[in-house]
């Protein structure tokens, strides 16, 4: 993945507007967080291949860390801490945030076909 280029990502987000698309949304701090640090908490959530439709999409940020918001008929899809992006395979838009060691902390991905695996 490469550092987010806001205008390019914005254009890609808009490709998915008003279409039925598959979303992968995830955040994690790993299964070993409280094992290596007894004061830490294991927290994570993901939803994969949920079919959604949104009418607005925007990425906002300060050049280092970005937020994305997708407005649906009855709610929002939101991710914070995004730093990198790529287009994978058949035009799938992958956005992710990584920590100093390159570990994934958050991801938001959109695709017109279901994600594999």
């Amino acid at each position: 993945m490469k550092p987010i280029e806001m205008e390019a990502v914005q254009q890609h987000l808009e490709r998915f507007i008003d279409k039925e698309v598959y979303v992968h949304l995830e955040t994690t701090n790993g299964a070993y967080a409280s094992h290596v640090n007894s004061e830490a908490y294991n927290v994570g959530a993901y939803i994969r291949n949920a079919k959604v439709k949104f009418s607005q999409a925007r990425i906002v940020g300060d050049g280092k860390s970005y937020r994305a918001g997708l407005k649906m008929e009855f709610g929002w899809i939101y991710a914070e801490g995004l730093s990198d992006w790529t287009i994978h395979g058949d035009n799938q838009l992958l956005l992710a945030g990584h920590d100093r060691e390159g570990r994934l902390m958050v991801s938001l991905q959109l695709s017109e076909a279901p994600f594999r695996y």
Binding site: A31, Y32, T86, L94, G102, R103, F115, R116
Partner: protein, 223 residues
Amino acid sequence: MEKHVVVIYPHPDDESFGAAGTITKFRKQGVSVTYLCGTLGEMGRNMGSPTFANRETLPEIRKEELINACKALDIDLRMLGYRDKTLEFEDRQTVAEHLKDILEEIEPSLVITHYPDYAVHPDHNALGAAAVEAVRHMDETKRPVVWAQAISNNFPDVLGKPDIVNDVRDIFDKKMAAISAHKSQANGVLGQFQQNPKNKAEILEGAKKALGKERFYIWDYDK
């Protein structure tokens, strides 16, 4: 001497971090070893350091790494096709039946797996429990011995002294070769054992300290 050893863990790299030394000792004796790997670690957060994988490329990358690690260890590999982080939500009896079918085919004399409830990662606990269950369902005369590996910080206090302690520091280069095959995971995991290492020697030192002894409990089916 063992006839055939089957290792049952859920993730590509569990075999290398957890049991590569023990596996190497068995292979040196000419004992066949088969690794049943539960998932492809699809949801891992280590993407290489520096990052070279992403959520969608990670499964194929880890599959390749797993194949390479098994080559380095000179063992057979079967991938079970479950999904990372979901093993505890699968029906345990169904997973146990799946494992039992494979064990009845291979007829191992020893099974190595995680110690249920003391193996930190939910996938470790769930697959370990299913493996213990699978062997329990086998014909008593054909049951392999089960070595269960605990990882949790509290395990020695609760479970007592492990029955098997394999000091593998004399063959640690083999273990590191297997770990290093997992390129996307190795640095991230090794980094946990040593805060701000100055060089490779320090990383190796930290790894040796944390991973130099492989400990197992012999599962007691009469309890």
